[in-house]
């Protein structure tokens, strides 16, 4: 079963290996220049990474504070509580605080980077950024190394997720959920659904389309529409072509807003009828609104990303955070989360547990993806820092900033 599964997951492995190769090249370059920057020592940024050791007060202060994204943990509408978190509190005596404080990787990083740099508490003991952002946190020394003895369940993670380019052997981070970026739409307004970019930018949807402010997802989908593989060695020109396409759709008034996770609110309020969005969000919306919304991976290809839990170097509750992380990699708990969030579950053994909760969900290719589904998506390749600055600038300028 497991070997078979690995065989099926091959496309992901390939793209992750691709990303990893280019990242290695980057790291070497960064190391060399990082050293010279440290010598020059007048400047901003990573040259002076603060590695102030923080005293762990986990035993006296039984709390753990977690920053995550909306719709990312099982939530009980009636009691307004998170059942798995409640169970964790009951089991360990640690009081968790869960905040849906991440709307966008960049804005969240912007909020906390000042404190991270000087090594003062950012107010969270667990954060959940996307892989490319995790790469940045680890490189800059902002992630605390796991004490593996405290996270025995680490072994439950999918084999292919155990060795990612930015964190070999997962010493600093663990995949929280993976998901697809694709099209979401309001099934009452768009009967035939949205399966291609042309469906998305149909005349009837003009002014009611929103795309993600997450560069890798929005651009990854547009690039694939233009026949460019975002996981391959695409050129700057190819990327800029996609930027021109996006600019055109904004100038023509097709795209109403470029948003972070808040696009879900616009879908519910009716300001948006079709979006480039994330699979899990749309499935949660679908179940909460009696099938009013749906999700599909674009025919021309979607993107695959992972968000990861990591402990900031500034956390004074590292042991509690590790207990929390360990708890969520128990198959039964992971299944409970998967049943709500509908994203790709990082714990393979959770499939059997999920079958007990909801057999239909356990068979969903969006939670335990099959080869056919994975063949339709790509992982955006790792960018060099120069590319990252240039591409992000082009993206932000295209979106009006």
């Amino acid at each position: 079963m497991s070997a078979n599964q690995n065989e099926k997951l091959n496309p992901v492995t390939k793209s992750i290996i691709n990303a990893q190769l280019s990242r290695r090249g980057v790291l070497a370059g960064v190391g060399a220049i990082g050293a010279s920057v440290a010598l020059a020592s007048c400047g901003t940024g990573s040259g002076d990474t603060a590695t102030k050791t923080v005293e762990d007060v986990s035993d006296t202060e039984k709390i753990v504070r977690w920053a995550s994204w909306p719709y990312y943990l099982d939530f009980d509408e009636d009691s307004k509580k998170y059942p798995t978190l409640e169970a964790f509190a009951a089991k360990t005596g640690i009081t968790p605080t869960y905040k849906e404080d991440i709307d966008d990787n960049n804005t969240f990083y912007g909020k906390v980077q000042g404190q991270l740099k000087i090594g003062s508490d950012i107010g969270y003991d667990v954060v959940t950024p996307t892989d490319w952002m995790v790469d940045r946190w680890i490189q800059l020394g902002y992630a605390a190394k796991f004490d593996e003895a405290n996270i025995p369940n680490k072994k439950n993670i999918r084999a292919i997720l155990n060795d990612v380019g930015y964190d070999q052997g997962r010493q600093y981070s663990l995949t929280w959920q993976s998901g697809f970026a694709g099209f979401g739409w309001n099934t009452e307004k768009i009967k035939k659904g949205v399966h291609t970019i042309d469906d998305l930018f149909a005349k009837e949807n003009k002014g009611r389309i929103m795309v993600l402010s997450e560069l890798r997802d929005t651009m990854g989908i547009i690039m694939q529409y233009q026949g460019v593989d975002p996981s391959g060695a695409f050129t700057e020109d190819q990327y800029m072509n996609a930027i021109d396409f996006l600019k055109g759709k904004i100038a023509d008034g097709f795209i109403r807003q470029v948003k972070g996770n808040a696009y879900t609110e616009s879908l519910v309020s009716g300001d948006a009828v079709a979006v480039i969005g994330w699979s899990g969000d749309l499935f949660v919306l679908k179940s909460e609104n009696a099938g009013k919304f749906d999700f599909a991976i674009p025919d021309s290809g979607g993107t695959l990303w992972s968000d990861n839990v990591l402990i900031p170097s500034t956390s004074a509750h590292k042991k509690n955070a590790e207990a929390l992380i360990n708890y969520y990699y128990e198959p039964a708990v992971a299944a409970q989360v998967a049943a709500y969030v509908n994203y790709i579950c990082p714990v393979e053994a959770a499939q059997a547990e999920l079958e007990k909760i909801d057999p239909a969900l356990a068979a969903s290719p969006y939670i335990f993806p099959d080869a056919a589904t994975l063949a339709k998506v790509k992982v955006f390749r790792g960018l060099t820092t120069d590319e990252s600055t240039k591409f992000q600038t082009a993206f932000d300028e295209a979106t009006g900033n």
Binding site: G29, V30, I33, G34, S36, V37, A40, C42, G43, T44, G45, S46, G47, D104, N106, T107, Y109, G110, K111, Q113, R136, Q139, L140, G207, R208, S213, I250, A251, G253, I255, R256, Q257, V258, S269, G270, D271, T384, T385, D386, S388, T389, Q392, T393, D396, E397, T399, G400, N401
Partner: protein, 301 residues
């Protein structure tokens, strides 16, 4: 004589001391303010200034910049964002005029006609401040949303097309700015109107001025300090605002505050963000100086 001499001698140091103390007192009184100003204004401004001329070495990690005194940053930043600068001043200008048009009658009414209701009405003006600025703006996105009450009502009217929408438009951004900064206009206007001696208005009447002339020749000139203060208090924050453009606008209505925000947080391009902030500061300073010169009032409130 000797006695006198002695006392004079004795008191001389005392007087000296007192004089010294007196000369030190103003500085001691200034000290807390100066410390505050240096710590929270001069130092940050100096850091910002030094950041604005930095550059990123080729291939360095994101957010790493070194000082290279590149003043070209200012021109590059301005040229890349001319539209947003222009738009910020345009929106802020329109919002200021709208706020003035709404606030003047309101402040006039509260100052002269409200009677016992005066304090109550003032509380109503200030009341929105009791909740968060952000929440109030988010509330507008729902009130003006496509499925919200306002749009549904407009759609029911015969002279609006069914495609009408209010959020994600320049109209929504300017309305948001006007709404959010309205109290900053109303309060100074009220303060200066309320201070007008009613006898000056009576005197105008005695001199055969009709209501309109009295208003034009007496009330308006006497309330000018309030108008100047109110317009400044509205225009300056509105020009730098980014919340309204972000929540109520679309990618084509972004203001300079949004650019600074994205440069700082998303692109992690500190020099451009710093250069833009300085340019904005300078532009506002020049506009305000010209405006105060033109309106010829030194007394702000």
């Amino acid at each position: 004589m000797a006695f006198l001499h002695a006392t004079a001698h004795a008191s001389a140091p005392a007087i000296d001391n007192a004089a010294k103390k007196r000369s030190l007192t103003p500085y001691l009184l200034l000290l807390p303010g100066m410390v505050w100003l240096i710590g929270f204004f001069v130092l940050p401004i100096a850091t910002l200034a030094s950041t604005s001329t930095m550059t990123r070495p080729e291939g360095a990690a994101v957010g790493t910049y070194v000082q290279s005194l590149r003043f070209q940053n200012y021109f590059d930043a301005f040229n890349a964002n001319k539209d947003q600068f222009f738009r910020s001043f345009l929106y802020a200008g329109i919002a200021t005029l709208l706020a003035l048009a709404i606030s003047y009658p309101l402040a006039y009414m509260i100052a002269f006609k409200a009677g016992k209701m005066r304090s109550f009405l003032l509380v109503l003006v200030v009341a929105p401040f009791f909740t968060s600025f952000l929440l109030r703006t988010v509330a507008w996105t729902q009130i003006l949303g496509d499925e919200g009450p306002v749009v549904s009502f407009l759609k029911a009217l015969p002279f609006f097309s069914n495609d009408i929408r209010l959020t994600s438009t320049p109209f929504a951004v300017v309305s948001g700015l006007t709404y959010n900064f309205l109290p900053f206009m109303t309060l100074p206007l009220y303060a200066s109107l309320e201070r007008i001696d009613p006898r000056t208005l009576e005197a105008a009447g005695d001199l055969y001025a009709n209501g309109l002339t009295t208003f034009r020749r007496v009330t308006v000139p006497l309330s000018m300090p309030g108008v100047v203060a109110g317009t400044l208090l509205t225009f300056i924050p509105a020009a730098g605002d980014y919340v309204n453009a972000y929540l109520l606008g679309n990618p084509n209505t972004r203001m300079i505050g949004n650019v600074i925000d994205s440069r700082f947080f998303a692109i992690v391009d500190y020099p451009t963000a710093a250069a833009l902030s300085f340019t904005l500061m300078a532009a506002i300073l020049i506009l305000v100086t010209l405006y105060i010169r033109k309106s010829g009032t030194d007394e702000l409130v």
